[in-house]
Amino acid sequence: MSQLAYALENQPEIQQQPVLLCQQQDLVPYSGVAARFAEHAIALFYLPGKEVELYGVSHIDPASGAPVMAHGLLGESKGAFYIAAPLHKQQYQLSDGQCLSDSTLKLQVFNVQLQHGQVWLLPPME
């Protein structure tokens, strides 16, 4: 368990205003990068040309607590996109963060959006 993950899980701070995370050119097509906001580490996956172009999920691997999810491989099954955790290859759906192989594991999902070449973190959707 890394101390980073510990800090993240213990201080869930929910922001009220949109926050500029980074620029579009920081993203890597069909792959992930990690961004930070306050205590959160967010993995951003960029799928240019797809129905949903940008996904944001927790960078912390729920199984190991290590900050590695942005480095997982992007996969697709029957049209739905998922991320394979780099350490032990559990698959997590990008749409809702649910782990496909272990119902007890779930990635936190962040409300991120691409607008005019910028990546924004929006307040969570209720």
Binding site: L4, P29, A35, R36, L44, A66, H71, L74, E76, D102
Partner: protein
């Protein structure tokens, strides 16, 4: 949405069973007619008490939480934390808390239990604690600061868990047990004795047959335990774990029927003496029995949820109290009538003090049925024995073979022998019949079975058994094993390799558009990336290939369990100058990298953060190193002995040959990793016969061995050709490797590749030596292309600012401090913070 009036369902208690009830209830359609309100005495939502001691390994209570905070909100469950119920008024149908009064239509008591503290004088002194809740753990943790010694009173299952917790907190741990042995409920005398000696070896002092008469102030330590036999024991912390008592007070005050020794009496519908009030879990008493394990509690939760929704098909008719667990690392299992109390029962024992194993079977008088069992030291026998006991299966003629070690005739209870009624997963009550029904209903694999039946998603103890049942049933249904790479390509790796080469395909996108479908996955992307690299040897991090690589290839380093990376510079043939060795040492020291010599005669540096990798590699490259490809499916090392240069037995210069080979094939991408070795004489100090390519010197040249490996299934390499010249050796290895790269399956090492070639070794000799396919020249030319295109990938990255930017941990923030990843010192170096993974089934 519903047209009927919303009814009020109140649940008192939000422990594991209470939480399971909520989930079971919500999964039913009728739940929509109810408003659910849950009262929790603690200040946090339900958490996993089974794995409570993990709190001490990472000090993170949130990881134990069973459902996300949003679960209650999303399902419209009103969760009242820190709001204990003070009274139930059955006439008015209300419950009262310190804050308000609530009406109910139906009420569920899931109040659990509380730890029993024996009435010993002084038991209320400071630092006298119990072990049940997270608040208790926090108190134990606080008490243990500045403490040296800790004592657990009670040598049962929870007491030993608590002793483990004290040990994890760094205390000298003792266990005091009233009975003459440990775990008197689950184990017999011999089992208890063995457990005692094993636990003592782990550094926990065990005191049995000790009654504590009082607790007084200590002289050396804070407290002193005074035993009835006159002896004493000084300690700083005392944890009582002398059993649990049902938390039946609310039911008692409300006038519900209780058992003589406590517990709220329920019927097989989990209803109490008031039919509008249900009780489940450890507070409930069914036919005079309390159930202190999680699985029976879950069964009650399921039953109550069903009955409340008008489904009378479910009932609770008692539960099996068999249990297996790992206590302080020692396997302990107890099944059914472990003590042989059934009249006329007979027993069979196996006791091995040398290996530290003990097993006992309790059989029916005719020896045909298994009534109970005790296991200490090795739980691998548990699953089979449990199935015999639970399902009343007829035992084999020689039942002792079930507990004898390594016996060839050990009759394994295969998945085929289990009846459909056999319960595989007791947490979620899934039978073999239910698994078969799901498979007949169209579920195709293990993952599908898990998500559809929930089997093996509770304590996980049945995972291995479930897997074997699913695999057996699938093959019985004639489900063919497909050779398709994945759902995106209906081709094997070999077929894809040909397509790439014949069509001159250079990118993944081209290939999936022309020969595949969809967008790819973690199976096909790295496989295709490796094929592209094997065919054209463009840098793996060139733009079109970046999104295809496994993490290790993406960052040209090996990811370790805490998210940091290890770095392995190439040391060809294991030969290194003192100056180069010092420069590695300097880098390792500067970045505080854990340093270890590998099995392949090089040096692995662990614990680098992503941001540090380019800095570290800049220094290593400046010192003259290049990447070692420890992260790639490619040549790792060519190990060598010192050879004829120094050794009085050596007949050839093995070091020079090893360096030549390593520099020739470094960076070539293959279906799997490749290892080589060169020995300077027949004494074979380089262990070349355990490698994919082994070279052993002779008086006249070199003997070539192929397709060996170590690892999980070791295989000696086969002698392929003898007395080769340097030139012959290189051309044979060129052809062999290239043929392997072209025709092997994804992640297939050379050994299984050759075994799967029709004709095996002889066929391979025909192709490589006698050129039976007329491919030799082409294979050599293709290998020459790969060798010619070699570049040090780390040098390439450092030269390109865009690629270098990929090594920033965060696109919008500074590099994280290395301390964020959690390191602790060990033998003078830094290693990752330890984690425990104790997936067993206790409450």
């Amino acid at each position: 949405m519903t047209t009927s009036i919303t009814k009020q369902l109140l649940v008192i208690g939000n422990g594991m069973v209470g939480q399971h009830f909520i989930e079971q209830f919500l999964s039913r359609a009728d739940a929509a007619q109810w408003q659910l309100t849950v009262f929790a005495g603690e200040d946090r939502p339900a958490y996993d008490r089974v794995h409570l001691s993990e709190y001490f390994s990472d000090a993170n209570a949130d990881k134990l939480q069973l459902a996300a905070d949003s679960f209650y909100r999303d399902n419209d469950v009103s969760l009242k934390l820190n709001e204990a119920v003070l009274a139930i008024d059955r006439e008015a149908k209300t419950v009262t808390t310190a804050k308000a009064r609530y009406f109910y239509d139906k009420l569920v008591l899931a109040t659990g239990s509380y730890p029993f503290v024996p009435p010993i004088a002084g038991n209320d002194k400071p630092h006298c604690l119990v072990y049940r809740t997270i608040a208790d753990l926090e108190a134990i943790s606080a008490s243990s600061k500045d403490a040296k010694v800790g004592v657990v009173i009670g040598g049962g299952l929870l007491g030993l868990e608590a002793a483990n917790a004290l040990k994890l907190l760094g205390l000298e741990a003792h266990v005091v047990e009233f009975a003459p042995q440990l775990m008197p409920v689950q184990l017999d005398k011999d089992g208890g004795e063995l457990l005692r000696s094993k636990i003592a070896q782990l550094g926990v002092s065990v005191h049995t047959d000790k009654a504590t008469s009082s607790i007084s102030e200590g002289t050396e330590q804070r407290l002193q335990l005074n035993f009835s036999d006159g002896s004493v024991l000084q300690t700083d912390v005392i944890v009582f774990s002398a059993g649990i008592r049902p938390q039946d007070q609310p039911g008692k005050d409300a006038g519900l029927e209780l058992g003589a020794r406590g517990g709220i009496v329920i019927n097989n519908q989990c209803q109490t003496s008031d039919s509008d009030i249900y009780a489940i879990g450890e507070c409930a008493l069914y036919q005079g029995q309390l159930f202190g394990l999680v699985a029976p509690g879950y069964q009650m939760a399921r039953t109550a949820a069903a009955v409340l929704c008008g489904d009378s098909s479910q009932s609770f008719t008692g539960a099996d109290m068999s249990t297996k667990l790992k206590l302080l690392g020692v396997d302990v299992g107890s099944i059914g009538d472990a003590h042989g109390r059934t009249p006329g029962s007979i027993s069979l024992r196996y006791r091995n003090d040398l290996a530290g194993e003990y097993r006992k079977l309790v059989l029916s008088a005719d020896g045909k049925q298994l009534l109970g069992a005790v296991l200490v030291g090795d739980n691998s026998y548990y699953d089979t024995l449990l199935q015999y006991a639970l399902n009343g299966l007829a035992l084999p003629a020689d039942p002792h073979s079930l507990i004898l070690p390594q016996s060839n005739s050990k009759p394994l209870l295969g998945p085929a022998a289990l009846p459909d009624s056999a319960t595989l997963c007791s947490c979620h009550n899934v039978s073999k019949g239910a698994i078969c029904a799901a498979l007949d209903g169209g579920v195709q694999d293990l993952a599908g079975i898990k998500s559809c039946t929930k089997a093996a998603t509770g304590c996980g103890g049945c995972a291995a058994l479930l897997k074997s049942v699913v695999e057996h049933e699938l093959s019985a249904r004639g489900v063919a094993v497909s050779t398709d790479l994945c759902e995106h390509f209906s081709y094997s790796r070999q077929q894809l390799y040909h397509l790439v080469r014949v069509d001159g395909i250079k990118t993944f996108n081209e290939l999936i558009k022309s020969h595949g479908r969809g967008h790819g996955c973690e199976i096909c992307k790295p496989a295709v990336a490796s094929i592209l690299a094997s065919c054209w040897n463009e840098p793996v991090l060139a733009k079109p290939h970046v999104a295809l690589q496994d993490t290790n290839d993406t960052f040209l380093a090996n990811m370790q369990k805490n998210g940091t990376y290890s770095v392995v510079p190439r040391i060809p043939g294991g030969e290194i100058t003192p100056a180069m060795l010092i420069s590695i040492g300097k880098v390792a020291e500067q970045y505080q990298l854990y340093t270890k010599i590998t099995g392949g005669q090089r040096i692995d540096l662990f614990g680098a953060t992503l941001d540090q990798l380019p800095l570290i590699w800049q220094q290593l490259i400046d010192a003259g190193f290049e990447t070692g490809h420890a992260y790639g499916k490619s040549l790792r090392t060519v190990k060598s002995c010192v050879g004829s240069t120094w050794c009085r037995y050596g007949v050839q210069d093995s070091v020079s040959m090893a360096i030549l080979l390593e520099n020739r094939y470094k960076g070539v991408r293959a279906p799997h990793k490749i290892k080589m070795a060169v020995s300077g004489c027949t004494r074979e100090c380089a262990e070349a016969q355990s490698k994919d390519v082994g070279v052993i010197a002779t008086e006249n040249g070199w003997n070539l061995y192929v397709c060996g490996n170590g690892g999980m299934k070791p295989r000696h390499a086969d002698l392929f050709a003898t007395d080769l010249t340097d030139e012959q050796l290189l051309s044979y290895i060129d052809r062999l490797l290239m043929f392997y790269i072209k025709t092997a399956d994804r992640l297939q090492r050379t050994a299984s590749w050759m075994n799967n070639l029709e004709g095996g070794l002889d066929y391979l000799r025909d192709v490589i030596i006698h050129d039976s396919l007329g491919l030799a020249a082409e294979l050599e030319a293709q290998m020459q292309l790969l060798i010619g295109n070699y570049q040090c990938e780390w040098q390439t990255v450092l030269n390109d600012p865009a690629q270098r930017a990929r090594f920033n941990s965060y696109v919008n923030a500074a590099a994280p401090a290395r301390s964020e990843f959690g390191f602790v010192p060990e033998r003078g170096q830094l290693i990752p913070t330890r984690q425990l993974n104790n997936k067993e089934n206790t409450l």
